[in-house]
Symmetry: D2
Subunit: 329 residues, 4 copies
């Protein structure tokens, strides 16, 4: 029998998940909860699902699982509500911007013996999965150095920045999770430098747009993360892992795989410049892995703890950038 879903929030990411649920075997989209009527009706029409309120979803016997795509400041409350309601919960990152609040929510999940998966979509990208498989197969020997380059096509509007929690909690958080996943060890020390180079409006809000972070584990393995809010050439998403026997890396994805040669030289199209296009396959794989874990009663591939750890790294990086000191976890 299919896992019956409700998606909470019909914004951009809510639609990504609604589409993923529709395309994944063993999953069925029953309902959507969305306060804006137009958005709700559009989703209803597109996916043939019902419109329900959040409370209705919590009380629906025909809903097995929810995907939380509402604003960040509602995540922890919803996790607790649906954990208590006996639904399997998939929540978009971050769980909350406060480590304390995250811990509370995870405690509730644990007390209820509920299932919580936190959305770190990049772990489900086919190329990044192939990188991880090469590491796990021993192809590059013992991991020593991870390099993550992650640059957005362009800076978001000030409205977004204001509620984002800052670049480390909003953008780098994905890279912190990738680094933990690829290093295979917990991070012990964080150093960071942060600048405002792209948009003065970001600086005016006390946030940064250009950051570099070094992470270090107890055994001395290191990861470097390079972030910028602006890459004119598209959404730049690269990972590279050096090990004792070699290196494995994933390439970027272009708008088209063609090459033009003229008297000016050789040119290729820019990168896919939208996270939903770049990570289409990742989002589908992510939901499929959630469905599989719930169906089989196994652990989800990412958990609330992953969400917590990534947030702690974000807080540490911010502190290091502000104080110039290495921060120990």
């Amino acid at each position: 029998m299919s896992l019956r879903f409700a998606v909470l929030g019909a914004g951009r990411i809510g639609q990504v998940h609604a589409r993923a649920i529709s395309s994944v075997a063993g999953a069925e989209l029953i309902a959507i909860a969305e306060p804006f009527e137009a958005a709700a009706k559009a989703a209803q029409e597109k996916y043939g699902c019902e419109i329900r309120t959040i409370d209705e979803v919590a009380n629906s016997a025909d809903i097995d699982a929810v995907v939380i795509c509402t604003p960040t400041d509602t995540h922890a409350n919803l996790i607790e509500l649906f954990a208590k309601a006996g639904k399997a919960v998939f929540c978009e990152k971050p769980v909350d911007l406060s480590v304390e609040r995250v811990k509370q929510a995870l405690a509730t999940v644990e007390a209820e013996k509920a299932t919580l998966m936190v959305g770190f979509n990049r772990r489900f990208d086919p190329d990044f999965m192939a990188v991880k498989a090469a590491i796990d197969n021993g192809t590059i020997g013992e991991v020593e150095m991870v390099t993550i380059t992650s640059r957005d096509p362009g800076a978001p509007p000030a409205e977004y920045i204001k509620v984002s929690g800052g670049i480390f909690r909003d953008m780098t958080i994905h890279d912190f999770d990738m680094a933990r996943w690829l290093l295979g060890e917990e991070v012990e020390t964080v150093v960071a430098q942060a600048s405002n180079l792209v948009d003065p409006a970001i600086g005016a809000l006390g946030d940064y747009d250009s950051v570099n972070v070094i992470l270090r584990t107890a055994s001395g393995k290191q990861a470097v993360i390079t972030n910028s809010r602006r890459a004119t050439y598209g959404y730049d998403q690269r990972i590279e892992v050096l090990g004792s026997k070699g290196m494995v890396s994933a390439k970027n994805m272009a708008e088209a795989n063609i090459q033009v040669a003229t008297a000016d030289g050789f040119s290729e199209p820019p990168l896919l410049n939208f996270f939903m296009t770049r990570y289409t396959a990742a989002y589908a794989n992510e939901i499929a892995s959630f469905v599989k874990a719930v169906a089989e009663g196994t652990a989800t591939p990412t958990t609330g703890l992953d969400g917590l750890k990534a947030l702690e790294l974000a807080d540490a990086a911010l502190k290091s950038a502000q104080t110039g000191q290495a921060v120990k976890l």
Copy 2:
């Protein structure tokens, strides 16, 4: 309102089209016709469509269009049947292995003022479309030389070869269509050389597995096609167009976009090695363009005439390979 489809034949390519129809906006899969009950039921379950006989489909008021995916020797008959039944027809290549029979079928289509699109999926591949767009935009100036490299991962079984019509009509036919499309002029002269290098069983059947063809238009533009039935590294599908101002080319698609570096050097995964995986997007685009043309009453992007022209080039190439003489069309 959606265009209501029946797919005739639930084999490999029939399933490709059934899936494409299910995923394309404005299209709906109503029925499948397939003599093997197990295959029919599998399709029914997967796509939620009915099972009907071909005659039932021809008489169904709730079917607007058919996709012909049955064995090649039934194509011409079915085209005529459904043209007369007033259905829009999409037929997999080739229309028939006999130029005469193709001409008859096209005459019927014309007499009935029916719609016939012949399936040359590669024209709908996003990368090849980007190549064509670069040509049409004038990026490379006047087209002078087209180079098409097309190699299958491995030779098909003798059973398949026997009924295939030979490599030129079965495999090169796709490249003939690509060449016509990219040259933008009709071919006037064909020279070819053909060998049996890959599998003696193919030679024993009087067929070839390794061929090179040069096509030439009246104005002197040329296209070279290189085919092999075996490429150990995957399904090799490249096009390159040289013009007066430059060159444009499309790259192959690998299983994953990663790179491993060790003491042995740098390595990347083999190419996608199955036409259905390699051309997933192309098949979806192809059906979408058929739906759009029928819905809007415009010409289909490929027609019965394209099927005929490609077949004539195949016949000419075979004759040239056998006689050593350039064949004029």
Copy 3:
């Protein structure tokens, strides 16, 4: 002791060889023969060598070897003169534009038991040598298909075309030699198509600028050669060999190995666009291999016979292009 050289002709290619001789261990440039005084003096100053007439060189006891870089119509005479004079001879391709005259010259070389190496510089390019090594190591199994793409940056002036012997004897001749080398078997059948697309002045002289050739050996192996007199993006020199177990190919050489990414996409510099820059290493290796063969008394890696065979293929291709018939050798 060093092999003592005279270079005959101080034009562009003569200077290439003079420089190569100066840089190669075991070789010494003693004299240059050049009728234009300014060119002769420039070479004298640059390489610290003497100026002598051709007859003086032939009678010089302190000259062991000559490099013939004079106009093509003098090559055969000079080969005979220096073979009789007991000098080791390195002659730039072609030996002559007439197969009969080549045969005469080779007969003289044989009668004198002289050493003659014909300059097919591409065999000495490090990347092409690596391709050949991969073939010889069995990496790709049995060779089946060779693809050679060879395009000049731009068409030469009409003056040059007039005395060039035509594109097949002047330009494709290099590719015929490469094809023979890579196929590892003699060619039996030649088909070709030739057009005039780049420059009408070339057509007015009865020559072509855009040609495709298919070569075929007795066992059915094939090679395709694609030539154009114009590639706006630089000197395009690619080889690709398909075998039963895989493929090996060599890449082009760019002006610089950098990449620029902007909102327009990714771009890289054009190719090196001059044969002397593109093949610097090849020319040095070529002379070094001549020096080594003479010093050790072993066979030169390319011979007069290679020059003859390539010319015969050129004549066959021209005939096929003119008649539309496959030409047997």
Copy 4:
């Protein structure tokens, strides 16, 4: 008239420079100073130069310039000696391992109004020069982020490590210079993390083999340097610069530019794995630029101050790695 050189030290790097001087127009190698007789004689034979002692060189009227390739602990003394002797001085990096000693030596150079160029060969690599040109041309707008990946093929022996001054002063020093050159602004803040992952013998000597450094200028521009003493796939030397309008990067150099495709996928040869092979062109350009500057009486492209600044960054990085604190310059 040519600039007349003596090379001090006939070890590996001394030979690199001796060969470069021999190949550069306007330079002449007169003498070599080398205490080991066999090495001195080998150089004498190879380059046709004389053997002199260091004192003889200092007193030689026929020597205009010296290239200091002796052990690091002699550099400062020799710079002072030859500055006073009125010779133009080219000194291999580093000037000294002590910032104080470097400052003394530079003071002497200044007092003597002598010419001193410090060897940072990478600035003269053709690809890196093309990257710098792209920056200077405004192609990528304002520089924001520099990423330098620099990995040796393998760790040097403990004997070398002992006298090297540690990874930051021995290996990263090249990258510090590159970062300064590419950032176009002086560095204000340095943070670093350093590990011992490659060879325990390195750790036993109190040195590191795996380090990451973040540099930051007053305006907030940042550079990241990633070093490892081991890259099994060859000498990994990459630079990437992100600017407000785009990115420019230089690629690595492989042993051969070929690709092999088999059932295992696509493979390319490892990188050139020796600094002398990788930077052949850079060393020749470097000496040529020194010759040009001395001949024209202009400033050398790299100076003693560049050597000092790079060393100060090395000291700062070491301190940051040891203390976990950002170090201000």
